[in-house]
Symmetry: C2
Subunit: 332 residues, 2 copies
């Protein structure tokens, strides 16, 4: 069985796992992340984070030598040269014959659809769809942030619910149970602007109200139901745009992210929208997470994701005998 190392490098955390061919040799090892490959000093910061996550795993399994290491890194799509530099440095640092670097969106896609073409919709505070076609065509749709897009994501749903609550409070809009729900979560409506601004992250605070909107919709409130329906429609349009741009009918679609926790009230209408579209898209359960996708891309260079992967191989393979892990470079 072929061993491989999978890494998911984000801005807050860097997670790594060593596979021995049958499963993870140990649990996931997580260390602090790095500010993104496109940032100043991004390559060195990424290298430091990856080595801090990976080397302890290799030390604990000295008999395993990974055939390949794959890193899904935030910012890799915007900085292909930095991705190549990182891959080259890691090939020198790690006891492996091959290092692959790609964006975290690509590893998330590969994980959710098991390396097959299709569209992966990620919904959390925001919303973004990534499509990868049979021929490697790539489309990123949405993900513009709370001011410019992210329609149908958690902050969008939560803010729409709070706006409707305040319209009712003002007498500008119909009565809705969202007002009582907002008061229960945030207190006096007159203090809502303060509550939303308190921690400097109004998108996250607004998103915390999304489950209340879904619950209020399920309980039969028509204003909340309309918000959830509009969210499902917006998410459907996001998926359809990605599907059209990678060109394909009957494509698989997977939905990932924390907002999937809203369940059928959101996913039911989304499924109907996609099934009814001319592209006849099929909503499937997500097959895995970004670490699964990273492992898959480490071991398989023939997926449709390959045009978006920077892969460097050692000219002469290392001897098959295990090599002692190297020491991480000093942090600058």
């Amino acid at each position: 069985m072929t061993a491989a190392v999978a890494v998911d490098l984000g801005k807050t955390g860097c997670r790594a796992v060593l596979w021995d061919g049958a499963g993870p040799a140990h649990g996931v090892h997580e260390v602090p992340g790095a500010p993104g490959l496109a940032a100043d000093g991004g390559v060195e910061a990424a290298r430091t984070a990856v080595l801090a996550a990976v080397l302890p795993l290799l030390e604990r399994a000295p008999s395993l030598r990974p055939a390949a290491v794959c890193v899904g890194a935030a910012g890799a799509a915007a900085a292909p040269r930095a991705a190549r530099d990182l891959a080259g440095l890691l090939l020198g640092d790690l006891p492996t014959d091959e290092v692959a670097v790609t964006s975290d969106a690509v590893t998330a896609h590969a994980g959710a659809l098991g390396g097959r073409p299709g569209v992966v919709l990620a919904i959390g505070t925001g919303s973004v769809a990534v499509g990868i076609g049979d021929d490697g065509a790539y489309a990123r749709v949405g993900g513009w942030g709370p001011w410019l897009g992210d329609e149908g994501g958690g902050a969008w749903i939560g803010a729409a619910g709070l706006r409707a609550a305040l319209r009712a409070h003002d007498g500008r809009g119909p009565d809705t149970a969202l007002l009582a729900a907002a008061i229960e979560r945030f207190g006096d409506p007159d203090r809502l602007p303060v509550a939303l601004g308190r921690d400097g992250n109004p998108a996250r605070t607004a998103a915390s109200f999304a489950p209340d909107v879904a619950r209020t919709a399920t309980a039969g409130d028509s204003t909340a139901s309309e918000i959830i329906r509009d969210a499902a429609t917006a998410l459907g349009e996001t998926v359809l745009a990605a599907a059209r741009r990678i060109g394909g009918d009957g494509l698989r679609v997977a939905v990932t992210g924390g907002l999937t926790g809203l369940g059928e009230p959101l996913l039911g209408p989304l499924r109907s929208t996609l099934a009814a579209s001319p592209c006849a898209l099929l909503l499937r359960p997500s097959l895995g997470d970004p670490l699964d996708g990273s492992r898959l891309l480490a071991l398989d260079a023939r997926t449709p994701h390959e045009p978006h992967v920077v892969r460097v191989r050692r000219a002469a393979p290392l001897p098959t005998a295990p090599t002692p892990p190297v020491t991480p470079p000093a942090v600058a």
Copy 2:
């Protein structure tokens, strides 16, 4: 003729004018503002700002003694005790028999409608309506900020235009000339999130796109036209809610603020909405600014605004001979 001093005390600037009964004795004198009466140390900061704005005007017109001074101050509605403290202090500081303090929303209302009951809609980056009824009933509607409301204001219109532009760019929405307009103003659509976040005031930056949305609507773009129509509808609902809450048919409505510069594309549909409502509201040109309202409330204690004005009078009037202006108190 009766002389009076009018003051408009905001967070950025404090403007004052001395009226000699026929008109301003000099131009408007502006000095830096104060953080709001409800803030810590707000009364002393307000007093310092008011005296810095007013005393030089009195020194330049030693023969005039104002019968009354009125200050429209940000935060006065939320801090009635601070308003009373400020009025008492200013009565000691200034050569006048009467000092009135009220919120800047009340002076703006009095200025725009010449002291009569009705609804004043202020539209700039945000949107807020203030209604004052025949009997002094007061309603503030909207003004919740860009996350929670301000529907139909500049940031709302601009952000809606940018969202529509990016939907077209993504292939999530219909083609619209808003995309070309957004590129002309902000450059590469992929850099829009950066452009919007650059100065830390995305609401203001989004609002700067509102005139482009209005122009694009006038040129016949259906997406832009729908945004402007929706804005007019939202503004109409804001005015109607205020009118209902102060209870009155055939009320006057005035619109103030920078967004009135969009002109008929926005105000036309708003006028129609208001005229068609069961309340038969009449949109009128604004009669004056907050300084005009402040002067009016200084001289007239019988407007419907009076319940919202804190007014203190000297027990024994000062002698009618001009009194030399006092020195401003040292800043703590």
